[in-house]
Symmetry: C2
């Protein structure tokens, strides 16, 4: 059985800790955080500490802290010869200043307090030493059914893609809700449409699923809608419309 | 039992025709299209015609043709005293040049050939005559569980919201897929994230669900990601990020 220590007490760290506890096939021997209060909740289940000199022995040390702090934190570790990984989507593996290193990146949007089914969360792994890849793969498959080997350059692009399909999409939902609220229309009217858009992307390429005034280059509707918006929302409407129009011109699709 | 005639043979008209056939509580007495070939498929089930002078008698006439054609088409109808409605999200009710008029707008993205569950599709209705509202409401509840009374001004805004949460979101998915394809990362890695984003919007306000570098105003990640993009995609990234940053400044949320 693989043994693991989690270094971190934040949002991602907590979700990961919970997932490892749930798996009977991983030995979570310790959780570290410099704020002991954050990890008090694990006290009954495993060893907790806020002292880096008291880290126990384990197969894998998982740093799950804020992106900016990873490099400096890794320098403070006294874990010669041990496999140390981070969980960040946007930090290069080489930011870790340890001998054996890797990445263990669960690609999901974690909301504090909201439980997730880890089995369905893709985990992207990478290691500096070839022989460690199998260790990390075994560990990942204990908590998720979807494990992908992704190098740092790919992961950087994947993170960019994630920001676009998740964070940006959510902001479009915010704008949609704001428009509904302002006009006394219940936002729930739009929910089935949102669901259908997501259902579609699972079965067909989004390039083929595109519909709407921009796809048809319907200038009358486009101009009218632009006139109904102001500020950033107007600019967002304009540039996405332009991008859709040009995409379908470029691909020679029927307008 | 309410009787209906559908005027149109395109995509939305076909989905609507199918939904009415499915309901045992609506009498679909005729389907009209100027291209008879489009509606040949209904010949065994109801009367079909391409001749406006041969329209039968019905409680409601539903015009389901392209937005630009609705006004002119309504002028050609000889339906004095009859309730005539259109199915468009973006055309004002008054575009109909008939005595009694209304709107019967199913808010969904219809893909040709892809079946939909009409019961879950919100139908937004509106009438010029108060007494017709009940007729339209009864008709709508026969094929959908979600019927909303929405006037033309609200519907215009709702359509704008729909373009943003559906068409624009789908384009963001396209961009995400393009980034994955270019970097040999399977797009399916992003699918669970897309699903989670949609699941969230059903249970919490998108304003509260926002995560990511723009929400945190994490300039290092933002600048790096901007540098990885070109053309329209770069501009889309910049303006949506700016909009998120300003939204959370404005709302005084923690960054």
């Amino acid at each position: 059985m693989k043994s693991v220590i989690i270094l971190g007490g934040g949002n991602v760290a907590s979700h990961l800790t919970r997932a490892f506890f749930k798996s009977k096939k991983v030995d979570l021997v310790q959780v570290y955080s410099r704020k002991l209060l954050q990890i008090e909740k694990w006290r009954d289940k495993t060893s907790i500490t806020d002292d880096l000199t008291k880290l126990k022995d384990a197969d894998v040390y998982i740093i799950s802290i804020s992106d900016d702090a990873i490099e400096q934190f890794s320098k403070e570790l006294q874990l010669a010869g041990k496999l140390v990984v981070h969980t960040s989507g946007s930090v290069h593996m080489d930011a870790l200043k340890t001998d054996r290193k890797g990445v263990f990146y669960p690609l999901q949007t974690f909301t504090k307090g909201k439980k997730v089914n880890f089995k369905k969360i893709p985990i992207c792994i990478e290691t500096s030493e070839k022989e460690d890849l199998l260790t990390l793969e075994k560990l990942a498959t204990k908590i998720s059914k979807k494990v992908f080997i992704i190098d740092s350059d790919q992961r950087e692009k994947l993170h960019l893609g994630a920001v676009i399909v998740n964070n940006f999409t959510n902001h479009l939902y915010s704008i949609g809700k704001e428009i509904c609220d302002k006009n006394d229309v219940p936002f729930e009217v739009l929910l089935p449409l949102i669901e259908e858009t997501t259902r579609k992307v699972k079965t067909m390429a989004p390039l083929d699923a595109q519909t709407g005034p921009a796809k048809r280059n319907d200038r009358k509707t486009i101009e009218k809608q632009i006139s109904q918006l102001t500020g950033n929302q107007k600019e967002i409407y304009k540039i996405i419309t332009q991008s859709i129009v040009e995409t379908y011109k470029k691909n020679g699709k029927e307008l």
